[in-house]
């Protein structure tokens, strides 16, 4: 896909108490943001297992948005700090594997911040669009990873 027409696929993780409600609020307030982002609800950003992020990226997502309550306002008191730490370490690891750390982003949004959610979502889609496709499998070919293995397998042999 060429850059102009590139429509990124983004998975967003929300926490049940703040950011998911922020997303709901964005909806009820009829605020618009691009359709590229698909949300998954967790009870808490502390539930976010880095596996989910890597799984998403490996299965064709071009970016992952992680959202949770503001520090100090976690429904479960301080679990969002754990999310923050995992996020920071995960970014470093992905970077070491050649994935632009900007492809994952952590955003705090309270239940009242529907507008913030919408702007952040829009901004993130644009950031990812600018980065271009990640290329780990295409989300729509129904095969995920294998999707990109095929080409490389066709040209299986590389000239040494």
């Amino acid at each position: 896909m060429s850059h102009e027409t590139f429509e990124p696929t983004i998975i967003g993780f929300t926490c049940n108490w703040c950011s998911y409600r922020a997303a709901d609020l964005a909806g009820t307030s009829r605020l618009k943001y691009p359709p590229n982002i698909r949300l998954i609800r967790l009870m808490c950003s502390g539930r976010l297992d880095p596996t989910f992020v890597i799984k998403a990226l490996a299965s064709g997502a071009d970016g992952v948005l992680i959202t949770g309550c503001h520090p100090g306002e976690c429904h479960y008191l301080e679990q969002n700090y754990k999310a923050l730490r995992r996020y920071l370490l995960l970014r470093r690891t992905l970077a070491a594997l050649g994935i632009e750390p900007q492809r994952i982003k952590l955003v705090w949004a309270s239940a009242a911040e529907g507008a913030k959610f919408a702007t952040e979502a829009t901004a993130f889609v644009e950031e990812i669009r600018a980065l271009g496709p990640l290329g780990w499998g295409k989300s729509t070919n129904g095969k995920g990873l294998e999707g990109i293995l095929e080409p490389s397998q066709k040209g299986e042999e590389v000239a040494a």
Partner: protein, 672 residues
């Protein structure tokens, strides 16, 4: 991945809601339904329907009918936010005999139709979301909600007006209450006040009867001079450890006659009740109407405890109630609910050093002023300067000290305007002095408040609109010598003014208790950044907290005046009573559990749970989760390096499957 190898045995029904035109307006719902029926068939989708209003009784019946006739084992509804109708559809499934937790509601309204405009894109996203729901629901398990019996007793922390109100409401309803107060007497700040705005009725006159009620109420166990040390357990079953500090006075013998206080030779500045403006003895009750009536010995200042001699109180006590050897007691209370009404501290005016409090003798805080006005106070209600005799001729009252000020607190402390007006009135009434009020904005909402403002205006109090720059005793112009000069920009005339006065009253703001954050941690509730306790919902659930069974009332939740505090006290009580009457409460069965055979006892998870639900068995070297304490956040599930912890409702399998669904990984190949 288990998501891939499919679950042919499951029979899934997919229901796409039009929500009138709310969804159908942007999403081609028929298309979504057909798509699901064809492309997700091999994932177990046996029927996919669209309907005008799924949440209508007809819509629900549609689902129930299919469950019965088509033998559905899973249901996916694509409609609005689960926060609105999850329950609706779960109950529908339950009615049809399907475990409610085998139903998944995905939002294509808040997350699609209302936030997107492009119909094609919106429809595609809706399909992805449905696919996500289908993949996810394949991994759902039938669950039973947890039921926990509720202990009838309630703990109320804080004996201010809010706590008193809550305690009385619950006790009157016939349920036991423990009221814990840190100070020797209940009453809180209100007991320090003289008059209350706007009605100007005497604080003591309306408060003391309630205090007495509390003292005498058969259902209320009053624990003053006591502090909560530990809180364990969960809604319905809290175990609370309270330290009952040694009064050094045997309350069974003490009659509260007060002789000990007369005879005690040691005079101490009373920082608490008299706001530092007056004195008390080393053995004391904070004020005559104290409840309970029993004094306490202030060990830190008692001559006997310092020097080993004196014992004046003991000598003169007619009933021999003084007991120097009395020790702290540790009580363990079983309660079902907790109300926190721990109140506030006043802003420390010394921090705003440009107003000279603490340096310039005749600068007073509003709380000092309350005491000074109070007939029972250090000056017997006379308004005088620090020398204790001179009556001021000019008085300046400065609003918003420490409030609405980025150097200190950004918020408005709510009560200061009305309080300042009250002082303006009292000062005028008692001294006839000229009174200036320096304000940023006048805030007089609520019943009869603004009327009171008008009244004070008519009384001839002068109002200067502007934030005071400084209060100084450096005279520079004739007539300033020996006065306090208030330097202020009068924003209404746009001029700098220097107004010499005899007395300055700082209307200080309200701040969270110094130890608010620590208390929040102790009770496992959340604090806002500046330390006020966080309510479950700012509008719809103002007295509940995120932690089941713990409620908040009064200024602990944020600055408010007496009427509001009382209202919240009563509200919290009502919520508690509601819970008690349920006898038992059902908890969402979203819980984590540890597979002991997989647990390596690495103890990574042990420190992660804010609710202390994870315990470690040294003997077996494995960790275990107490399901009743677990709140289901899933942090430990995500953290367990051995993958030994799993969480119901949001298991790894469910989330990973949903990811695959959202990314359309397992679609039936397009029919050519």
């Amino acid at each position: 991945m288990s998501g891939k190898n499919g679950h042919p045995q499951e029979r899934i029904g997919v229901y796409v809601c039009h929500c009138g035109s709310n969804i159908a307006g942007t999403v081609d719902v028929e298309q979504v339904a057909q798509w699901a029926a064809s492309r997700l068939q091999h994932r177990g989708v046996v029927i996919a329907r669209d309907y005008k209003f799924m949440c209508s009784s007809l819509g629900q019946e549609l689902i129930e009918k299919d469950i019965k006739e088509l033998g559905l084992t899973r249901v996916v509804v694509a409609a609005c936010s689960p926060h609105l109708h999850e329950n609706t559809f779960r109950t529908a499934c339950a009615r049809a005999g399907l475990n409610p937790y085998l139903c998944e509601l995905v939002s294509i309204r808040e997350q699609v139709s209302w936030v997107h405009t492009d119909r094609t894109a919106a429809t595609m996203k809706a399909q992805a979301i449905v696919a996500g729901g289908v993949e996810r629901v394949l991994h759902h398990q039938p669950l039973e909600p947890l039921r926990v019996p509720i202990h009838e007793a309630t703990l109320v922390v804080g004996g201010g007006i809010a706590g008193i109100q809550a305690a009385l409401e619950i006790a009157d309803a016939g349920y036991p209450v423990y009221l814990v107060e840190r100070e020797p007497s209940i009453g809180g700040h209100m007991a320090q006040f003289d008059k209350t705005f706007p009605t100007l009725d005497c604080a003591a006159c309306i408060l003391t009867p309630k205090m007495v009620q509390v003292g005498e109420h058969p259902n209320i166990t009053l624990l003053t001079w006591s502090e909560v040390e530990k809180v364990e357990g969960f809604v319905g079953n809290f175990t609370v450890t309270v330290r009952k500090k040694a009064r050094k006075v045997n309350t069974d013998l003490c009659t509260g006659c007060g002789i000990c206080q007369e005879k005690c030779p040691k005079k101490v500045v009373d920082e608490v009740y008299e706001a530092g403006l007056g004195y008390r003895k080393a053995v004391y009750t904070p004020f005559p109407q104290a409840v309970p009536k029993y004094p306490v010995i202030d060990v830190a200042n008692c001559i006997y405890f310092e020097k080993g001699t004196c014992k004046a109180c003991e000598k003169f006590c007619p009933t021999g109630a003084i007991d120097f050897n009395q020790q702290d007691e540790i009580l363990t209370l079983q309660v079902g609910n907790i109300v926190l009404a721990t109140g506030y501290d006043i802003f420390d005016a010394r921090r705003a050093s440009n107003y000279g409090y603490g340096r310039l003798a005749n600068v007073f805080t509003s709380l000092e002023m309350e005491r000074m006005c109070n007939a029972a106070g250090p000056t017997g209600g006379k308004i005088v300067l620090r020398d204790g005799k001179t009556v001021p001729k000019t008085v300046g009252i400065i609003h918003c000290v420490g409030s609405r000020d980025r150097n200190f607190n950004n918020y408005c402390s709510v009560i200061c305007c009305m309080q300042s007006l009250k002082f303006a009135h009292l000062v005028k009434e008692r001294t006839g002095a000229t009174v200036y009020n320096f304000y940023i904005d006048m805030r007089t909402p609520f019943k009869d408040y603004d009327e009171f403002y008008q009244r004070v205006l008519e009384e001839g109090t002068l109002f200067v609109r502007g934030k005071v720059a400084e209060v100084t005793d450096a005279a520079r112009l004739p007539g300033e010598e020996g006065k306090l000069i208030i330097q202020v920009e009068d924003t209404l005339i746009g001029k700098q003014r220097r107004i010499p006065v005899d007395m300055v009253i700082l209307s200080v703001g309200l701040e969270p208790r110094r130890d608010a954050k620590e208390v929040a941690r102790k009770f496992g509730i959340a604090c806002s950044a500046n330390g006020w306790f966080t309510e479950r919902h700012p509008k719809l659930d103002p007295v509940a907290t995120m932690t089941e069974g713990i409620f908040i009332a009064g200024c602990a939740q944020g600055p408010k005046d007496i009427p509001a505090s009382v209202a919240q006290g009563a509200a919290a009580a009502a919520r508690v009573l509601g819970k008690i009457r349920q006898k038992e409460i059902t908890l969402e069965p979203i819980r984590a559990s540890i597979d002991e055979s997989k647990c390596s006892g690495c103890r990574i998870c042990n420190g992660l749970c804010p609710f202390n639900a994870i315990l470690f068995h040294e003997d077996r070297m494995v960790s275990e989760i107490n399901p009743a304490l677990c709140q289901g956040c899933g942090t430990c599930v995500a953290a367990c390096p051995a993958g030994a912890i799993s969480g119901t409702g949001f298991s790894n399998e469910q989330i990973l499957a949903q990811i695959e669904g959202l990314l359309l990984l397992n679609l039936e190949p397009q029919p050519a």
